[in-house]
Amino acid sequence: MSQTATSATLPSAATSTGPQSSSAARARPAAGGGSRRAGWALFGNATGWILPALILIGWEAASRTGLISPNVLAAPSAVAEAFWRLLLSGELAQNIWISSLRALSGFAIGGAIGLVLGLANGLSALSRNLTDTTLQMIRNIPHLALIPLVILWFGIDEEAKLFLVALGVFFPVYVNTLLGIQSVDPQLVEMGRAYGMSRAALFVRVILPGALPSIFVGLRYALGIMWLTLIVAETIAASSGLGYMAMQAREFLLIDVVVLSILIYALLGKLADSLARLLERRFLQWHPAFQTA
């Protein structure tokens, strides 16, 4: 620094922007290495899978030795067989597809409304005074308690599932978006104003990025609620989907299919969560918690 300090002329500093900007580019994580790591990130690290594998082996052994009766829990090999059977008949893919579609559209609707209302109530006192009390009241009703009413309204049509999922997803997204905006550092907002940012610039550059970590918390929580709501709704009021498949299997005492359904829930849930984590990593790179080394 002493060199620049004594000669201290801005033009000379400006001429050396070339190497500086390239070093700026270098400081960012290399794209190639990032995408390989991203692939792994989708299913978490390898060590996380040791325990599930051990449980699976133990379970198979217990079933084979008769420690676990097939009437209580199907062996992993039986579950795999059921999986293969349903995959060949196309039934499995069909049910997964229908359930995923319901889950995602419900999530999109509820999430979008939650995000918009959360932003509006975080930014405008008028909007907050107008709606927040009502929303907090509705929030205290467990949304699954509405199932009987929803069946009366929509029967077992698609709308029933969409409504329930959207309602379930709405609150975590809403509450965390609102919280995120309210907890944006007021000092940063003041700084933005002191530097002449317009309201729009202030929102895009200061408020939204500041609220994002909290919004992601809401998002991940909402993903959990999304599956839970959908599966419950499908076991009670549906004629297709994974929940329906599990219910049917129960009626015919097909314990391998029941276990298979539960495993698929687990996998889909994990997949959704990993996806959210991936997005989090992408958008919260700056956050010390997401900085690698």
Binding site: T4, A8, L10, T17, A27, Y195, P288
Partner: protein, 294 residues
């Protein structure tokens, strides 16, 4: 925005004459007046304003008041700050220093009185540097400096200015990093670069070095003084540190109970060394004013 140019010529006696050519206004300014080592008492006796009669006024406060509820925090402040002057403001905690800076930078409005920037005609840029760096954690270092150019320049031009300023504060190689990885002193240097980006006519500093350790503090004081001499902005520095005020400022203003208790010129030559007898004498006077012993 056109490229900013500075020239600093060093005369043989070691005194520095800095002339500034800024983008629009081609004003040249004589740096701190030649020191009068032999007659400090005489200089001290002169009111601060008189020493700077040849300079235009950068900032003029007349009967400035600020009330919060029925509590009057500022009870009528009258000050003229000439262009390019380095003013230090000292006062006990809660005496209204930050409030005064917020008024100067337009973040708050006075309850009474007037505040004129420049000749009141054209828009002069005022920037503030806070006690905390207040960098956007989600923006790279260079992007944080570009925040200082909001509404002034964009794209490659802004990037170039920002990188030049980062080089100026010695952080050119950190441009692409996140603020979270910098040390406290480095973050404060980024904040300084951001504040300077728009070439302000007045830079208000609210205890910007307060949170730094002693060594980093001295480094930052030197950096601040060097940049101030290059760029010739009027600096208004709020500090709790009497030594720092005497080391950096042309003039020290002591605020007590919302009013000016002392307005003391510091006629010492630059660069100043810590610990001289004259400095100690000036520090003594400031401390006396702070603790009402005057």
């Amino acid at each position: 925005m056109t490229a900013i140019t500075f020239t600093a010529a060093r005369t043989q006696s070691g005194k520095t004459t800095a002339s500034r050519r800024s983008a629009g206004a081609g004003l040249a300014k004589q740096a701190a007046p030649a020191p009068l080592e032999d007659a400090p008492a005489l200089r001290e006796a002169l009111p601060a304003q008189e020493q700077a009669t040849e300079r235009k006024t950068a900032l003029s406060l007349r009967g400035l008041k600020r009330r919060f509820g029925d509590k009057e925090v500022l009870k009528g402040i009258d000050v003229d700050i000439p262009e390019g002057q380095f003013v230090a403001i000292i006062g006990k905690s809660g005496c209204g220093k930050s409030t005064l800076l917020r008024l100067i930078t337009g973040l708050d409005q006075p309850s009474d009185g007037t505040l004129t920037v420049g000749d009141g005609q054209q828009d002069k840029r005022i920037r503030i540097m806070f006690q905390e760096p207040r960098l956007l954690p989600w923006a790279r270092i260079v992007e944080n400096v570009e925040v200082g150019l909001t509404g002034i320049s964009k794209g490659p031009a802004a990037r170039e200015t920002a990188l030049a300023l980062l080089a100026e504060v010695g952080l050119a190689d950190r441009a692409g990093e996140w603020p979270a990885v910098l040390s406290g002193g480095q973050r404060q240097r980024v904040a300084l670069a951001r504040a300077l980006a728009a070439k302000p006519a007045i830079l208000a500093l609210d205890e910007p070095l307060g949170a730094l350790d002693a060594l980093t503090r001295i480094d930052m004081q030197r950096l601040l003084e060097r940049i101030w001499r290059q760029e010739g902005f009027a600096a208004v520095l709020v500090t709790h540190d009497v030594t720092e005020a005497v080391a950096l400022a042309d003039r020290v203003i002591v605020i007590d109970e919302g009013a000016i208790a002392l307005d003391l010129p510091i006629p010492l030559p630059r660069p100043r060394r810590h610990g001289g007898a004259e400095m100690a004498a000036l520090e003594g006077r400031i401390l006396a004013a702070l603790f009402d012993e005057a």
